[in-house]
Amino acid sequence: MVSISFLNPLSPEGKDIVRELGSFEAISQDIPELRNIVTHNPSQEIVDDDEIPSNYLELALKRMEWYIKKKNDRNFNARRYSFLADPAITKYDVISFYLLCQAIGVKFGPNSRENRVMVEAQGDLVQERLSKLHVDEARMMVEQSLQLLLADDRVHWTFFEELLSSRKIQLTDLILDQGELILDQEDFIQRFGPKIQHRNPLSMYQLLIGDELKEVIMVKLIMQATEDYIKQVNEKARIMVEPNPILLELADQLAEVLSEPMQRYGYGSNRGGGGPMKIGPLNPLAFPPCVKTAMEGIKSGGRNDAIVLFMTPFISYARLYPDVFRMNVTKRVSDQDPNLEIVENEILPLIYEAAENCQPPLFDDQPQEKVNINAKLGFGMHPSLKLEHEGETTWYTPMSCEKIKLHLPHLCKPDDVCKKIGNPLSYYNRMMWVLEHQENENSDDGEEDSNSGMGADSLSDVGMDSGDENLGEE
């Protein structure tokens, strides 16, 4: 029987495991049994003895390494991390989880990239573990976890406020009735059965909710709980006198694990067809009509929105993370540009140039908009870009065409390429691809290949992707 804490270390069972451990003394001591479990896992591949975690701290780092490599390394070999999905490690894994959360809480805080990676890694790990279990067992585990997480079988959708706000889940994906989330089969049949015609209510239940939705909700709730826990640690740590040096050291090692692949692989792609979009200098030839218009400056109303809400996300993503919609992984500016050199030398100058071209020039009468630009890059409401402020706000993703048409209609003068895309950034990617193709093949027919593997704007094709609380207050 797999323990519930294998999925959710924050469960009562997981907390017991931590309590039993008692003090910090044992943390860095060798655990022969852990090595034993790892080496005896039948699907485990071991190339080097160093790869075997021999204590809690090493296991903690392995957890993160797994996630980072999986995301970034195109030659990622899952078999080298098989032990992570082995329920036999539960006891050790739970402790490692707590160590990680505490290290991050103490050293980096809730707005850090480390925090975000930890939360995402935990989500992925839970899914990975579930997928390795027998279907029935996985189903039971999800069921049990949900019972613990939801505490009540009647849950109002506002219970998921945090998850909705961070867009971890979409309201439209939930099955709701009278405000309540419907997950349970009997509940479903009782409420909707009479409405269903020509179909078997049970099979409809299996399709609409079944295992999938439950699993998603469970995973997201665990992610949220992890985030909340780290925040809690952070708050305590600020009052506490001195954090345990072991935690600080773990934090440093963790930072190393996280930064290494950034340098090694840049940011890569392991999803979908086609290679990653290259990041590189901006090519104004590939700008969509709306961006070209905005570059020339806004002559009348809507200056602020055009520069702050439209140009800032577009220019920064086009330069640093053009693949954002296809990768569907949120990042920070510093993930792509650790020293903010590109931001300072290429991105801001371009945005400022567009602002200068406005009539009257935007900063002449509204210098405070510079702060808002920084905020949209994720650096909070501060007059300068400082890494320590990063994460106070989110790096806004570029507005969809639809939203531009709603809020900044005078910018949108669609051409033929526009018909095929939903976001100016996809326009840019598409055109970059076309331009490169032209060069490479040295032919001048601009006919593009519809299978280029581009333009799937999964993150925000439709609608209100970025929270624009600043739009028109009057």
């Binding site: 979409q170 439209t172 994906d173 709701l176 439709v462 609608g463 209100m464 009057e474």
Partner: protein, 322 residues
């Protein structure tokens, strides 16, 4: 009835003889001192803002003596409303402006009975979803003078942020095409939204139906060509009896998908999104005069029987001699 602006004399007459502070809804009177008030005295937009009234008597006097062109109060509650500081919570608001309805069949320049009727129908749908699917109950509907405001006061939602509000908005207007591919036990199945008679797919189906039934050959839809619009109109009678399957077959599944996607993005404009996600907005004060069209902004008791041309016309309009 034509909707002319009210002149200053008419405004004065309205606030002296017709308006009563009792017409200000309870949900505002109760929270008076936590709200910011704003006024437009010249008809150029609300630039007299950050006003606070310590009690209802002060508001009464202000309105009587100043007879503003327009009056507003915040949807937000503040500890320090005078500085718009100490935000506590904000009503969840949806603004359906008849003038901005995406598929208007009347083609009028401002608003008329037809588009106001259309707006009312839309509002009815949105309110049904808010109370049915989303389980909210403290919902007030206000006639704004040019459309309707839905104002939700349930504690469950008044503290939510813009992101949650935008999710609610997308849900109730049906701006996201529900997925049609589902899987179970490793098998893939297709379930179109109209085969699911509850939850979001049902909301979406209702909104799409409403839209297709009010389509007009001259209208433009993103990614939908004229021929497709014409075909949708040609077959739309099928939808009156909910024969979606046949409708889809006649249109062709791929074109159907296009049509539905176009309508989904159009649905996003049923409601002014900026109003819903702005946590500090001011909104026309119910009972006040909309001087631009000479109508009363009115709290509605019964939406079904409400008729703006009966229930929201101030007396002075009937006394006009022209």
């Amino acid at each position: 009835m034509d909707l002319k602006p009210a002149n200053p004399n008419e405004r004065r007459q309205y606030y002296r003889e017709e308006w009563s502070v009792k017409d200000v809804p309870d949900f505002i009177r109760k929270s008076l001192i936590q709200r910011e008030f704003g006024f437009d005295h010249m008809g150029r937009g609300p630039n007299d803002r950050y006003r606070v009234f310590q009690n209802i008597e002060y508001l009464r006097k202000f309105m009587r003596y100043r007879a503003p062109f327009a009056a507003y109060s915040s949807v937000a509650f503040y500890h320090k409303p005078r500085r718009r500081d100490g935000w506590i919570k904000a009503e969840l608001v949806f603004d359906v402006d008849a003038k901005d309805i995406p598929l208007r069949s009347c083609g009028c320049a401002n608003v008329c009975e037809i588009c106001l009727g259309q707006a009312k129908e839309i509002v009815q749908g949105l309110v049904d979803t808010l109370s049915g699917d989303l389980g909210l109950s403290d919902i007030h509907i206000v006639y704004s003078g040019r459309g309707y405001h839905i104002r939700v006061q349930d504690d469950l939602v008044t503290r939510t942020d813009s992101d949650v509000r935008s999710q609610v908005l997308k849900y109730i207007v049906g701006s996201e095409v529900p997925r049609s591919e589902y899987s179970h036990d490793g098998m893939k199945y297709n379930l179109e939204h109209f085969t699911i008679p509850f939850a979001y797919p049902k909301v979406f189906t209702d909104r799409v139906k409403q839209a297709i039934l009010s389509l007009d050959p001259s209208m433009e839809l993103d990614g939908v060509n004229m021929k497709l619009i014409k075909d949708a109109i040609k077959h739309r009678r099928l939808l009156e009896n909910d024969q979606w399957g046949i409708f889809r077959k006649n249109i062709g599944p791929q074109r159907y998908a296009k049509l539905v996607k176009g309508i989904a993005s159009l649905n996003l404009t049923l409601v002014d999104a900026k109003v819903s996600i702005d946590l500090k907005r001011i909104l026309r004060l119910p009972s006040s005069l909309h001087s631009g069209v000479s109508m009363k902004c009115t709290l509605i008791k019964n939406l079904e029987s409400f008729d703006p041309f009966e229930d929201a016309v101030p007396n002075f309009v009937f006394e006009r001699k022209d």
